[in-house]
């Protein structure tokens, strides 16, 4: 459960203070499927960074599973990211010198997971994204869609509660993008909270819980579940 109240994020640009986020209140229940939409500069990436504990809000309260995390020191935030949060980025951010398996293994190496268990979990994660056959390939030998699937495997391998995807299909063709969305929704169906930042309305509208941002403020919030409406899975 994520509870944001009165979250603001200011940036100092020269003399000027830019309000990237202004007074955001948002509740994301466990297992939610949330899309953040809005034009560039609307604050959706800033919000995602704060949700992912990569960035700290200037003001406001962020409670993650009941724990106030907005003012935690960097070390603690790292621990939270490691245990509770998975990231998927538009540009995949795979480490180019590592194989697909090596990239998936990375979070576990630094989390101190035993080698035997790492191998097992890498296998499982790659199987779940359908890339077992590509485990020994380096990222330059993989297509964009495959790279993003490796990134998803890496994001889920530590068993997080929340998966944050920043324009996950932004660099992919339609069919590869569809496959990524399918994978994310599959994780969501199995209980993972999925938060997607996108400017693609077809993808954004698939989420049960939809937020539009403009100028750092939430301008609309629709929640199919809360509204009692059935969520139709429109095809793209």
């Amino acid at each position: 459960m994520i509870e944001l109240s009165g979250i603001s994020r200011d940036f100092q640009v020269g003399e000027e203070t830019v309000h990237a986020l202004a007074d955001i209140d948002l509740t994301v229940p466990d297992g939610d499927y949330l899309s953040l939409m809005g034009p560039s500069g609307s604050g959706k990436s800033s919000l995602l960074n704060i949700l992912g504990c990569l960035d700290r809000p200037t003001r406001g309260s962020y409670r993650l599973d009941g724990r106030e995390v907005a003012r935690l020191p960097e070390e603690e935030l790292s621990r939270i990211r490691r245990q509770h949060i998975g990231f998927v980025f538009q540009f995949y951010h795979l480490v180019p010198r590592l194989t697909a398996a090596g990239n998936v293994e990375l979070p576990m190496i630094f989390a101190g997971v035993e080698r035997g268990e790492r191998i097992e979990r890498v296998d499982r994660a790659l199987r779940e994204v359908g890339l077992s056959a590509r485990a020994r390939h380096r990222s330059e030998q993989l297509s964009g869609g495959e790279r993003q699937r490796v990134a998803i495997a890496r994001a889920i391998v530590m068993g997080p509660r929340v998966l944050l995807a920043d324009e996950p299909t932004g660099n992919l063709d339609i069919s590869a993008g569809r496959e990524i969305v399918r994978l994310l929704e599959e994780r969501n169906a199995r209980g993972l909270t999925v938060i997607v930042v996108t400017h693609d309305p077809d993808i954004g509208s698939r989420a049960r819980h939809r937020i539009r941002l403009a100028d750092g403020k939430i301008v609309s919030e629709e929640n199919a579940v809360a509204d009692g409406a059935a969520v139709g899975l429109r095809s793209r």
Partner: protein
């Protein structure tokens, strides 16, 4: 995270840019190798000199005229008001109890001639005792005859090189050798020995001391070598000899007496200093290598911004980022150090085969020192890049393509 995993990660990162890693590793290798090589040469010089002093004979006092005003190996002598004479040498032998043998010495260079072959030779005027004191071995004939110091016969003993150059294959024994205007009968040839304390004994002609003094028109001896019967007696013998000579020289303390120990200690000290200085100079290259590592690591950090950003996003703690980069730098420098060590050991071995008389040998502490210094260099010069990496803002690092 285990240390093994950390090292594995670092090795993977280093292999990601082999040329760069290899070059900075080479820098450390050169630095470490030059430190070891130069200290080996210094240490070799020290061993060589101390070894040479050992061949000088044991338990030696070296008396020479004049008073040293400063300590050190290069004596600045004041004018001696009294000559150091043969009588002084005899007095030492008779009155210093523990003096076993006394060898007075004059030294000069003279033109030697045999038939129409000529060359300049060093001439030592001394006595029969010189043989034992300097541990000289003869190849043929005999050494200078014992007898009264003042009455020298016109005989000489020649070095092996003097023999081959002036007599060729002929047997020189009984032949006449001209030194300046004087004729000397050759009675012995010394065995080849090579350099000893800067003198090539193979190129020396030995003549009776009184002949030598006449030849060079000297009234004072150059040195008196005094062999003391045991090592423990040396300080007392030195004091006795000093007092004796002061008495004989009307109360002037105008001679200096070195003990072999003190000369050895001085040389050893000077050469250790030389070794340290050489090592210090070579350490500059090690510092340069360290800066090279720092540079490579800084390049690596800025090139791997995305990777570092990602590591932070997946929950790698700042101190883990620091240790990952430190381990990387330390691996580079340690591998470089090991390479440099191997190269230097090989080079010193080669030097020993090429110049067997010069014991170029790394000092014993070189192995642990080289390895710990190279690890230290890596950690020291890796610290700044590692900190920079750990402070990278993940949001900014990941935002860039």
């Amino acid at each position: 995270m285990s240390f093994r995993d950390l090292v594995g990660f670092a090795i993977g990162a280093l292999r990601g840019h082999r040329l760069r890693s290899g070059l900075s590793l080479l820098g450390v290798a050169i630095g470490v190798a030059s430190v070891i090589l130069l200290t080996s040469v210094g240490e070799g010089a020290r061993l060589y000199v101390t070894g040479e002093f050992a061949t000088l004979g044991s338990n030696l006092l070296i008396v020479f005229p004049g008073k040293t005003e400063t300590t050190g190996i290069s004596p600045f002598l004041t004018e001696a008001p009294h000559a150091l004479t043969l009588e002084d040498a005899e007095a030492i032998l008779h009155h210093v109890r523990s003096a076993r043998r006394v060898a007075p010495i004059v030294f000069g260079v003279a033109a030697a001639r045999v038939g129409d072959r000529r060359r300049d030779v060093g001439v030592i005027g001394t006595t029969s005792e010189f043989l034992g004191v300097r541990q000289i071995r003869l190849r043929s004939g005999r050494y200078l005859p014992a007898g009264e110091l003042a009455r020298g016969q016109r005989v000489c003993v020649i070095g092996s090189k003097v023999q081959s150059e002036l007599f060729g294959a002929r047997n020189p024994l009984g032949e006449i050798l001209h030194l300046g205007e004087e004729r000397f009968r050759v009675i012995g040839v010394t065995a080849p020995r090579g350099l000893s304390i800067g003198q090539d004994l193979d190129e020396i002609v030995h003549v009776p001391v009184s002949r030598g003094m006449k030849l060079f028109n000297k009234i004072s001896l150059f040195r008196i070598l005094v062999e003391i019967s045991s090592h423990q007696e040396i300080p007392a013998a030195r004091r006795n000899a000093l007092e004796l000579l002061k008495e004989r020289h009307e109360g002037f303390e105008d001679v200096t007496i070195w003990t072999q120990d003190s000369v050895l200690a001085t040389f050893s000290r000077v050469l250790s200093l030389l070794t340290a200085a050489l090592g210090g100079i070579a350490a500059i290259s090690l510092t340069v290598a360290g800066v090279g590592i720092m540079n490579v690591m800084l390049v690596s950090v800025s090139e791997r911004r995305r990777e570092i950003g990602l590591l932070k996003a997946i929950g790698v703690m700042p101190r883990q980022v620091v240790s990952a980069f430190l381990v990387e730098a330390a691996l580079l420098s340690t591998a470089g150090g090991a390479l440099g060590l191997a190269a230097a050991l090989g080079a010193t071995r080669l030097m020993r085969t090429m110049y067997p008389s010069f014991p170029a040998r790394p000092p014993f502490w070189v192995l642990p020192a080289a390895l710990s210094v190279s690890i230290g260099v890596g950690l020291l010069f890796g610290a700044l890049p590692a900190r920079r990496a750990s402070r990278l803002d993940p949001v900014a690092a990941l935002a860039r393509r």
